[in-house]
Symmetry: C2
Amino acid sequence: MKNRTKRQLAIKQAILNSRISCQDELLHIMKDQGFELTQATLSRDLKILKVAKVSDQALGYIYVIPEGVNTENQRENSRINFLADGFRDLQFSGNLAVIKTMPGYASSIAVVIDNAEPYEIIGTIAGDDTILVILREGITHSDLVNSLILIMPKLEDKLG
Amino acid sequence: MKNRTKRQLAIKQAILNSRISCQDELLHIMKDQGFELTQATLSRDLKILKVAKVSDQALGYIYVIPEGVNTENQRENSRINFLADGFRDLQFSGNLAVIKTMPGYASSIAVVIDNAEPYEIIGTIAGDDTILVILREGITHSDLVNSLILIMPKLEDKLG
DNA sequence: ATCGAAAATGTATAAATATACAAAATGAAG
DNA sequence: CTTCATTTTGTATATTTATACATTTTCGAT
């Protein structure tokens, strides 16, 4: 997955997990996680993610992922969650991975994966209930698992 | 009603009605409406109202009243809306107003009115289905109607 | 009315954030 | 591999917002 996308997912996670009150604070969190970026990039990411800042009972201001407002992302998320339900199984053979899905789900799930453009994956081919995933050289099986969870968080239940 | 409360209601209205992208813009709107205030006060009001700022498709940033976040106000609002349903009738006699309510509603509604501390009202006395409202000298009947609508917006249907 | 305490506000400024511009990175087409 | 166009990012800075401090207002008790 492109670095930018990965970073933005991490930002979302950080905001959901903790009370962050300014971009500098978030900047440090991201750098601790190994991301290299500046406040300017962060500001742009927050804009793209539609992160909002609201006052938090006496604790000043914190960032939040708005719900009512965020209809677009909301819909996209629930679509991805829905599709994740179609996931059945994941098996490896060398630099190939085979995902088994419920009938009819394979191509939709493959589209989600392709759109995320994960660095770990060179390409996918989907049938009706099977997705063939070609891994980049040097990518381990657990790298792929992590990558898939980043794309479809709900898979954590089935893979973690 | 205290000036601060009135101003904050007006701010909320302005944010709901139009796309406002910074405090200076909002400041002008408020001044046009006759409010006297500075950016500092505005900043404090926005904090109290839990107004958030999110990016709005290509139009930069705008202020919004968040829904998911704002649970406290949310509950309070729906409580007030619920009580407004108990309103039956409003009649005047000189500097007195008599509100008739459904049985049992009078004292709850009176509490809502008292808490808002409207300037127009000196005091209220509530029985079971009747509220006596004593108006301040010089207050017209339509002043009172407006004041009540500010406190319980849903009354607009029954009074406007 | 007069006092004192608490709340609200303004002024001035510090802190936080967005963005213009330039440079670097990425990707597509030859 | 080049070249050109597009996207992404950093630097530096302007804009925007929050707040410390001082002042004024409000309100209850005397």
